[in-house]
Every structure is written in structure tokens, then in C-alpha cells.
Amino acid sequence: MRRVAIVGAGLTKFYRNTLETPKELAYEATKMALDSCEMKLSDIDCVVHGTAPDAFDGVHMKGEYLSDASGGYRKPYMRNFVGGGTGVFAPIHGWFHVASGMFDTCLVVCEEKMSSAYPHPAGAFLTIFDHTTEQPLYPTLIWIFAIEMNRFMTTHGYRKEDIALVAVKNKKNALDHPSAQIPGEITVQDVLNSEIMAWPVNRLDISPTSDGAAAIVLAAEHVARRVTEKPVWMDGVGFCLDTAYWCTRDLYYPDYLEVAARQAYKMAGIREPSKEIHVAEPYDPFTYKELHHIEGLMLAPRGKSVQMLVDGVFNREGNLPTSPSGGLLGVGNPIAAAGLMKIIEIFLQLRGEAGKRQISGKPTCGVANAWGDLMQVGTVVVMRS
């Protein structure tokens, strides 16, 4: 397998409602990514597009619909989708294209326009559940996240007021992110006072639905060294899927994520993730989920992540900054584009180009993960400068 680097990136602003069509959003991110490394469409050998269910944008065969806007006109093109895990899965998908030796460059694009589903994509969420044994109970996606959070809390004795620090941290970090949808200075009390959606989840524990797009350019080593002085290497990739019989899993720990993380760490030659990883972007659609993932990524021992959060270890000035971008809680959650936004953050951090969000100490190794479906998918990428 050849070495693959990320050499360019592009990102749109994330908003709840945008004027742009899905194609126009995808174009803006893709063009920015190409311009950032001065490449033209003719330099791109293949395109990989990650985007969550067709039902959100309301366009069937969405992958094909978005292909021309993603630079896929008459090129080898594949669309991938693993729910929320897509944002980190798409670069892995692109990685295969280049690492295999079949292509030298690959555009990876992720787009989501969730606002087309009016008034709310609730109907799409309803049908993630089993149609016969669960849908008749009229569940909503918020329930299963709340259910997982509750199990996580009761297993380790975590408190809501401590978990709320994730929202405080991420929304504050997002104040420095140009694409951010809902950055802000909030307090733990604000989170606890925000309206209850499904206890233990309050409104400020959740990331917003958004429209947005992101793109990166991947290149094989010989091309990467020509195109940029600071390639960021995708040194480890991992992905894993757990059972759809989600009621049979013990939800306090993401086993599927640990499997994916071990794959990625082994490939990257990492033995002690908590020491060798300098910066992390764990997927944070909900406050507790960032901690759930930090434990699954083995960056903190099980049951200890909250104490490290309270001690400030995960702040930007801490020993292991997590979500320096502001994450989904601060920047926004256009499903697939959100995960890719996290990958782009690690890319910028490892190049020293994250502006006001830059963590000190010249980080050289970072990890990003995403998660999706019925709490099943773990996707992990380890990057090095």
C-alpha cells in the first residue's frame, strides 16, 4: 500500500437554512479545496463522495446527482454512506483509491442539505429503526442517544453537570472557526437550564441540523511532495460496524470504535494512543458522545474521561486538546460534511495553519473519528505531518 497525503481542503459556511442547492454547496467546497493546492479538475484522477441518506436532501440517487458538482464529470466516481460516520469514512474510501496504486489523486467531497426536509427530517429518523418491531412505537433518534447517554452515566456514575462542560468547551472553541453556525460563550448552568428534549439530553447537549459541504484532495506521495511543502499523511485508517440489534449491546462503551481505532493505530504504529496522539477530533453530535468516543479511542481509560475533562486536559491549552475546531456542537452538523470538517481541522492543526484555533507545541500526530447509523459505525483516521 502506498503512502497517501491530504494536500488541500475546502469548507463552506454551515447554516440551518441556505439558499444554495446541494450541488452549489458541493461546488463551493470542492473549488476551494482545489484552489487551496492550486490543482485543476484535470489533475484529479477520481472522485469519492460521502453523503448521508437521500431522504435528507430529498433527492433519490443523491450520489449521482452531486457528481458533477464534486468534479466527477466523466471520471471514476463512487458514493459512500455509513450514516454519521460518512465524514471520516469518505477519506478512508478515497484513501483506498490512492493507496492501491490505481489512482494518483482523489477528490473527497462531503455534502449535506438537511433543510430540504421540511419541517424536520423526523420521518427519515423514524425509519432508521426496525419497521416492524420498533417503528410502531414511534421512536425518534433523540431517544436512542438519550438512552445511550443514560447507560453511560449510570455505568460510570457520571453527572450531567460535568458532561455539559463538553458543550461549554466546544462552543467556545467554535468562536474561532470561520464556518461556525452556533458558536458562543455558555456556562454549565445554561446547558442544564436549556429545555429538556429527552432526559438526560437537553437542547444545548445537541448539535444543530445544518446545510454545508467540505472537500479534501488526496495525493500519492510523489504527487504530494510536488504539490505542497506540508503534506499531512493518512497513516492509519480503521472502520467497524456493530450489530443492528442495538438493544442487545451494552451501550456504555463503543466496542465498534475500539476495533476501528485498533486497526488505525496498528497501521500507524501507535502503541500508546494517549501519549502519542497530540490532538483529537472525536465525533461530538452530543456532549456525552465526545467522552464516549474519547474512551473508545483509548485516549482515556474507561470511566476516567469525565475527570480529565473537568481537569482541563481536553481544552485547547490542555495536554490532549479535543475538538479544537469547536466540533459539531459549535460549528454545526451537516452529517457527512461535519465529519470531514473534523478531518480538515486535524489537517490544519498539523500544518500549523489553524489560525486562532492553533494548539501550541507543534503537534505532529492527530486522530479524527466519526460515528453513525443506529449507533453502529466507528470510523477512524490517524494523521501525521
Partner: protein, 176 residues
């Protein structure tokens, strides 16, 4: 090469939902008709038929001996066809639960007006293997007094109202 405010400024145009609804920008409305008739298959078919009779049935894996609910035609761990049918009880314990102030459409319930919040839960069914749970509702319990490990029992619809659906069980309630 940092991505700056200037770079992203013109990439997307912010709108409010009212601007769209009031026609300040042009839009097209569409409501697709997406209707389905999902085949139950032998496993769920039997599960629903037994629910109509007021019983819960599971299936046992011939290899790992897990008693699986909902029943399935093959064990997803051993990858062999599942073996015999096994009746399980209609009692269980609460694995984890939620107190929801919203319904499936994300509409807020009128809690202040006295509407009870939803309390769905993962209930580990007695008789099935440890950890085997199903999603269902809890009721006849104070939402704030539910606890992990609480013992519960199914409350069934009267026999003539049962149709062969998961809703033939109205909800689970605590037992002393």
C-alpha cells in the same frame, strides 16, 4: 493556507425558514408517497403471531445457545441457522431509559398542560440471554423514579384488540 473568514464568506447564503415560506426566495414543495409492505419473514411472522396470543417467543442458537429476542432465522455471531423456538417471559429489567419531552416529529409535548412525557426503555427480557433487550415504553410509573435494574412486567391489550404487532403490549410497568 488557513481557511479564513474571507474564504468562506460567500460560500453559502444564510436564510431563515420564514424567508423561504414567505416566498422571498423561490422554492418547490414536494411530498413523496413512500409506502411499503415489509415482509415479516418466518421469524418476525411467528413473533407477531405469538404477541397476538399474549406470549413472547424467542429463538435459540444451536451453536452458542444464545436465546435471541427478537427471534431471527440465523445467529449473527455464529453464522448458522437458528435452532428451536423458546417461549420467554413477559417480564424483564430496565437496562436504560429516557424521559422524552418530544414526540417522533420533534414536536414538544405539552408537559406543563399535564401531558405525561414518553418513557421509552431498553428492557432485558427474562428468559432470554443476558443483555437481550427490546425497545418498548414504560408507563404507570413516575418518570423520575425509574432506575436501572428496575423489574417490570408487560401490560397487554385485551385479547380481542390484539392484532399481531409489537403494540399488542401497551407498555411495561414496574412490579414490586
Amino acid at each position: 493556507m488557513a481557511i479564513t473568514e474571507k474564504d468562506v464568506a460567500k460560500t453559502a447564503t444564510k436564510l431563515s425558514i420564514n424567508e423561504i415560506l414567505e416566498g422571498k426566495v423561490l422554492s418547490v414543495k414536494w411530498e413523496p408517497k413512500l409506502k411499503y409492505a415489509w415482509d415479516n419473514g418466518p421469524a418476525i411472522g411467528r413473533y407477531l403471531a405469538e404477541l397476538k396470543e399474549g406470549r413472547i417467543i424467542a429463538k435459540k442458537c444451536a451453536k452458542c445457545h444464545r436465546i435471541m429476542i427478537p427471534p431471527r432465522m440465523f445467529c449473527e455471531l455464529c453464522w448458522v441457522p437458528a435452532g428451536e423456538w423458546v417461549y420467554v417471559q413477559d417480564t424483564g429489567i430496565v437496562n436504560t431509559w429516557v424521559v422524552s419531552y418530544v414526540d417522533w416529529k420533534a414536536t414538544r409535548l405539552d408537559i406543563k398542560g399535564g401531558v405525561r412525557p414518553f418513557t421509552p426503555a431498553v428492557i432485558e427480557i427474562d428468559g432470554a440471554s443476558k443483555g437481550m433487550g427490546i425497545l418498548h415504553h414504560l408507563n404507570e410509573v413516575d418518570p423520575w423514579k425509574i432506575s436501572r435494574g428496575m423489574k417490570v412486567k408487560a401490560v397487554w391489550k385485551p385479547a380481542k384488540e390484539r392484532t399481531g404487532a409489537i403494540t399488542d403490549i401497551k407498555y411495561f410497568k414496574p412490579i414490586e
